[in-house]
Symmetry: C2
Subunit: 350 residues, 2 copies
């Protein structure tokens, strides 16, 4: 299998290196052959080529079996007057590959509950997946800037809503059969469209699952007060961005959470939900778990290697059980670094 690696900026290179090591361990343990080809994206690409997503990177991704991504962005490229930004590379990649469904599973690990701001008794048994629409909405609508005003257009078409709800429905069917669709239908026209389409798709194609609608503001609350009640949550791009960062607190640290961005063909893009964390970049202390679990999702969703994916996830669980915590989880006390945390996972991957 041909895997494109896009390390990106900040801690991106450190955590993708760990994920590649995990995939290599799988290679030798199971006798697979993966090739890893690195390409530029984000600030690193801007520095080298002037573009946040060089055509050569996009081309390489298009013909790959899967893409493993680190993170993009950092203060160096954050001048508001800059004509090109690292984030544009990420958005162009998502759009260019048609990755309309971003799966963000949140399943707090018992050993890491101490790191969560949420009371532990609320977290027992939490196991949810947010399916975030990733190529539409206000992120991609027309942007305008005049001297004394600015605007962003939020747009959704019926087919954009249909396909992501369908993907979420399939996932719900494989899980506990419960789908929560999040919108702001009491105010937004796009949300009323969203709600109508979600209702129809589930009624027509998923009569076996239950569908509940939630307003985004209530959802921001209920995600904290009753996280156990959710199975699959489907929502539009911007709401998904906010709610998944919020949901990451259930797990204790963003450093633990992977994601898969999927379209109708291959390849998918697999990346931690955390950012480039410029404040800790290069210090060897970033948590590699989110990237390693992203590699597990890659094995499952793009390569169809379910056993191998399970095995990586188990190895991570065992490492966490054994107390192999980076600083984001441990506080600053006896935390270990990226390399030691990676080694603790690899140990269980022989």
């Amino acid at each position: 299998a041909d895997i494109v690696v896009l390390p990106g900026d900040g801690i991106g290179p450190e955590v993708t290196a760990a994920a590649v090591e995990a995939l290599q361990a799988v290679e030798s343990a199971y006798g697979h052959r993966f090739s890893f080809n690195e390409h530029l994206i984000g600030g690193a690409a801007i520095d080298a080529t002037g573009e946040a997503l060089p055509q050569s990177t996009l081309d390489a991704c298009r013909t790959a079996d899967a893409v493993l991504l680190g993170a993009v962005g950092g203060p160096k490229w954050s001048d508001p007057k800059a004509s090109v930004r690292p984030e544009q590379g990420l958005l162009a990649l998502r759009k260019g590959l048609g990755l309309y469904a971003n799966l963000r599973p949140v399943k707090p690990h018992p050993a890491a509950l101490g790191a969560s701001p949420i009371k532990p008794h609320l977290l027992n048994g939490v196991d949810l997946v947010v399916v975030r629409e990733l190529t539409g909405g206000i992120y991609f609508g027309r942007k305008q800037r005049a001297s004394d005003s600015a605007s962003d257009l939020c747009e959704y078409s019926v087919s954009e809503v249909e396909r992501v709800v369908r993907r979420a429905g399939q996932l719900a069917r494989q899980r506990r059969g419960h789908l929560t669709s999040v919108d702001k239908a009491n105010v937004l026209e796009t949300s009323r469209l969203w709600r109508e389409v979600a209702t129809r798709v589930v009624a027509d194609e998923f009569p076996d699952i239950t569908l509940e609608h939630q307003l985004v503001d209530s959802m921001a609350m209920h995600l904290l007060s009753r996280p156990r009640e959710y199975d699959v949550i489907v929502t539009e791009n911007m709401f998904g961005d906010i709610l998944t960062d919020e949901a990451s607190m259930l797990a204790g640290s963003m450093g633990l959470l992977p994601s898969a961005s999927l379209g109708d063909g291959k390849p998918g893009v697999y990346e931690p939900i955390h950012g480039s964390a410029p404040d800790i970049a290069g210090r060897g202390i970033a948590n590699p778990v989110a990237a390693i679990l992203s590699a597990a999702m890659l094995l499952r969703h793009s390569l169809g290697l379910d056993d191998e994916a399970d095995c990586v996830e188990q190895a991570v669980s065992q490492a966490l059980d054994s107390g192999a915590f980076t600083a984001d989880i441990q506080g600053s006390g006896a935390a270990i670094g990226t390399r030691a945390a990676t080694a603790a996972v690899l140990e269980n991957l022989q």
Copy 2:
């Protein structure tokens, strides 16, 4: 002082009645004269007049000294095909009175920490105010619907951002001097405008306060992991909607949180941040505290009666200290109802 009361729908009438009782207790304790005039808004107004905000209601509000509002909405008026919705009344009221700054203070009460999903040690000393822009952004931009798509336009002008940042700056100056401005400047054009204007207004007019920028997704996280670090948070309409509902969980229940919506002239509108809660409407179990604390904000911001406002807030604190909890805080065990909870507050208001 002429106070217009807009009970609205669901639990709105129950909680505004409690707030009026609290204001009447202040009247007699301090020898003031308040007049209370009820008008229709929301679903109740739709039923009676076909409109969510009858002109007579808006006119009465315009000439009043302050407006006390309950909540609007409910399943009865939620048909997606309905041509008029209760929420439109609320939005038209905010717009019609020019209430561009919505202040939502969050200061968890020690006695209610048990009700919060957040670990208590993170909540000690939390005392923040979200200033939500209330008459702009995607709530009020052009909405379009075609057969196969829909759109909502998010727009901000420089002056819209200036005035709300200025209001937040003034508040920060009276408090701990720290302002956090929340946007999504790495993706949205309106957010880049927001960030530029916020930076300039604070540099020019508030050199004595500190300004920090946060992306909305990170904010959704940090609000939970380090709530103590925030003083005043200013943000646009939609982000404010989501973040304040999330922040309500710090206090344990939405039923505890008041708000003030202010423009440049009078009157302000004072309302709980909770909604109409149709599921518990008419059962006499709604928490009156958010409405009573909204009345305290009314005394302070519209009538300039600071001592009286302090006195109401203290009465609420004492009632909570004494364990006078409604079901939203207590669970369903030994909870008291709306009337008893109101009486527990009034007792301390003689």
